[in-house]
């Protein structure tokens, strides 16, 4: 039996006991006091003072919130240089991608935004999701606005005011990268139509190689097959983009879109993606093409560099062509990309502007370009690009340009992952292509109504 401390309490214990009593009581009271009195500790910047020191350097920290993968190592290096020059420190807060927009919206709505925040570009995105007119600083008068690619600026403009800075490789669209050697061996020409793609894939399959590596498991990748050839749908059905935005037409009304999805389904059914595509992930793309197991993949153009670095390919062994669904031959671009906004409620707007000016200095832009292996160019002029011969060929052979679906048409980008799920359901024969389009329409309508879009009454 366990020894228990019962029994006599001596007189001498009383003062000790009193201490216990008061400390317990005061713990509960203290909690309440602390709750009420903790006023001094809020604010969006480090309370290490905003005062200027004699050397002209300030001692300020700018908070910068962004999603996974938006802030490159090269930018972080530049931030260190910036700090050395100006004393302004950048506090990077990298948020998990699937939480990012929830956290951002909650903070913006509550008035607790960071000094700088990242966001996607696109008119409907920035007005609806970030409410830039209220939450972001007008940057139209900044020097770099004149230099930045006008197409990118357009994506960030509301009512003539520019609200963010985009430094991104906007011309580097995801294209079909193919193994040129294999194509040569099998006598295949670059497909210009869907039929040609089909035949090429069949030939490759017959030779024992899986035609296309498609990482469906990532949830977002396979949607590009449908959305990138957007400008072609607009070409086949003139004014489609505008009609969709004005709610004069629905996705389900578009034959071109229906064809595109049907073709995607056919490719899946014919086994062009291999057995495992539902579990395949994008991070394996280089390995899969490098081993010769797969012949093509819809990927970033930097894949060629990765294959040359790690898998013994020559840079020119990989060629590119845009997605030929619905016989598309337009080189689709997305002039937008992850962009940087300055929070209107920030205490350090001038310092943030200073940071943007620093980043957009020609030599710093070049630094970012040179030190980021995933990009070949930036959306600013006068830079030495890293385009390979094959990339130059791509731009020359496909001179027709157009903006892809998700950047032009409203309420598409926010439902990207849902479209992904619908397409997977379609591939699994759980939904028909037309059902996918109807599903997209329904979500668009919901979002439009929630946002009180005047085009949806």
């Amino acid at each position: 039996m366990k020894q228990r401390r019962t029994g006599t309490y001596e007189q001498g214990d009383d003062s000790y006991m009193k201490k216990w009593k008061t400390s317990l009581l005061s713990a509960s009271v203290a909690l309440t006091v602390v709750l009420a009195g903790c006023g001094g500790n809020n604010g969006s910047a480090e309370p290490s003072g905003g005062g200027e020191q004699g050397s002209g350097k300030k001692n300020i920290t700018l908070t910068y919130m962004a999603s996974q993968g938006w802030i490159k190592d090269s930018e972080m290096e530049l931030a260190k240089k910036f700090e050395a020059e100006t004393g302004i420190k950048i506090d990077y807060q990298i948020v998990p991608a699937d939480q990012y927009f929830n956290v951002l919206k909650t903070k913006l709505n509550a008035g607790e935004g960071p000094d700088i925040f990242g966001g996607q570009s696109g008119y409907s995105e920035i007005t609806m999701n970030y409410n830039v007119e209220k939450n972001a600083v007008d940057l139209s008068d900044q020097e770099w606005v004149k230099r930045e690619d006008p197409l990118s600026i357009e994506q960030l403009t509301v009512d003539g005011k520019v609200y963010a800075l985009t430094i991104w490789d906007t011309y580097s669209s995801f294209v079909v990268a193919y193994n040129k050697k294999l194509f040569g061996e099998l006598g295949i020409e670059v497909p210009k139509t869907y039929e040609e793609l089909k035949q090429a894939a069949e030939t490759i399959k017959a030779a024992g190689v899986t035609p296309i590596y498609e990482p469906i498991a990532d949830g977002w990748h396979h949607v590009m097959w449908f959305s990138e050839p957007g400008p072609n749908y607009d070409k086949l059905e003139p004014n489609l983009y505008a009609d969709l935005n004005e709610n004069k037409k629905k996705f389900a009304d578009s034959q071109a879109m229906l064809d595109s999805l049907t073709q995607l389904k056919e490719m899946y059914d014919l086994g062009f993606f291999g057995d495992n595509s539902l579990s395949d992930t994008g991070s394996d793309t280089a390995a899969k093409l490098g081993s010769g197991e797969f012949a093509m993949s819809l990927s970033a153009q930097s894949l060629a560099v990765e294959l040359a670095d790690d898998y013994g390919f020559e840079l020119d062994d990989i060629g590119f062509f845009p997605i030929p669904l619905t016989d598309n031959q337009i080189y689709y671009i997305h002039p937008g990309g992850p962009s940087k906004f300055i929070y209107s409620g920030s205490k350090y707007i001038d310092e943030a502007k200073q940071y943007f000016n620093f980043l957009t200095k020609q030599e710093n832009l070049q630094f970012m370009l040179d030190n980021d292996p995933t990009i070949s160019n930036l959306n600013f002029p006068g830079l030495e690009n890293k385009y390979t011969a094959e990339q130059q060929k791509l731009f020359e052979n496909y001179s027709e340009r157009g903006t892809d679906l998700q950047n032009f048409v409203t309420y598409v980008n926010p439902q990207w992952m849902d479209i992904g799920k619908d397409i997977v359901a379609m591939l699994a024969a759980d939904m028909k292509p037309l059902d996918v389009l109807k599903s997209i329409d329904q979500r668009r309508e919901e979002m439009a109504k929630v946002a009180q879009d005047p085009n949806w009454k």
């Binding site: 713990a27 909690l31 609806m128 999701n129 057995d275 579990s279 359901a425 699994a428 979002m447 929630v450």
Partner: protein, 290 residues
């Protein structure tokens, strides 16, 4: 005498902190279920039961999510309890290194679900994952499956991963319950000539009911609230086959439809409270009988 020895103010701090930081937001949230609260505008309009009607009308896939949540809950409750008890009995006595084994079985519970999800996503990859590769290595290729993408296996895989992670936790609680049973009962039963099953049914089970109630409540609530397991492993896929209540709620919040998201979570809350209430009543009665 009772009043003064057990003063009410002891419980005050807990009630205050809990009420302000937990109940208040929750209740405010429930109020929003009846509005069109969203992230795009600051105006909120009361829309009555529109959200709830939408959930239960069978439109959208909400009823399917509710069904999935229930299937997940029931499966994991049964599996974790049965396996937990089995393992607890196994590691109770009569084997060597039981301290080591207990720690091993408990380890998975310590690892955050997010991490577990990442690990198993890799292990269950049909082409390169550890599981299928091992099966191939020992010649059992015929058993390999597309664990997370085959409609017939996806949900089962999620349940399996959740059980893998949670069974150790349950086992520890049940183990404590087992060890609190006085050995003299078993000795008396031996003398009386009882066999294993009789001892189990007449001694063990009745005496660990309190522990079982605790684990059942925990399992039930965990099952109904499941999110990360589904989200990381399949994100509700393939298509919508494995979506549960919380992934749906998350999606509503992500698209800015806060009103609907809150409505869904309020429905879940009511369900959980009702179930929890009944189970707890059960336990309180047990407690009084002692």
């Amino acid at each position: 005498m009772n009043r003064s020895v057990y003063p009410f103010y002891f419980g005050l701090a807990a009630l205050i902190v809990y009420s302000i930081f937990f109940v208040l937001p929750g209740v405010m949230g429930i109020f929003y279920s009846f509005t069109n609260w969203n992230s795009y505008s600051d105006e909120i309009r009361f829309i009555g039961f529109d959200n709830l009607a939408k959930i239960f009308s069978g439109e959208g896939r909400y009823l399917g999510f509710i069904y999935n949540t229930l299937v997940f809950t029931v499966s994991t409750v049964i599996l974790k309890t049965a396996l937990g008890l089995f393992f607890a009995m196994l590691l109770n006595d009569g084997i060597r290194a039981k301290g080591f084994h207990r720690v091993m079985l408990f380890m998975p519970s310590i690892v955050p679900m997010l991490v577990v999800g990442l690990i198993f996503k890799s292990i269950l990859n049909p082409a390169t994952g550890l599981l299928n590769e091992s099966l191939r290595m020992i010649g059992l290729e015929v058993l390999t499956q597309k664990w997370l993408t085959d409609l017939g296996w996806a949900f089962k895989s999620i349940i399996a991963v959740d059980v893998w992670k949670g069974v150790g936790y349950i086992m520890i609680i049940l183990l404590a319950g087992l060890q609190s049973i006085d050995k003299t009962y078993y000795e008396a039963a031996e003398i009386d000539g009882s066999n294993f099953w009789q001892k189990l049914i007449h001694i063990t089970l009745p005496l660990i009911v309190p522990a079982l109630v605790v684990t059942t409540v925990l399992n039930l609530l965990h099952g109904l609230k499941v999110f990360e397991a589904v989200y990381v492993l399949t994100n509700g896929g393939p298509g919508y086959a494995t979506d549960v209540m919380y992934t749906a709620i998350f999606k509503e919040f992500s698209t800015g439809n806060y009103g609907m998201g809150t409505a869904l979570s309020s429905v879940l809350f009511v369900v959980m409270t009702v179930i929890g209430y009944f189970v707890v009543r059960l336990m309180s009665r047990e407690g009084d009988e002692r």
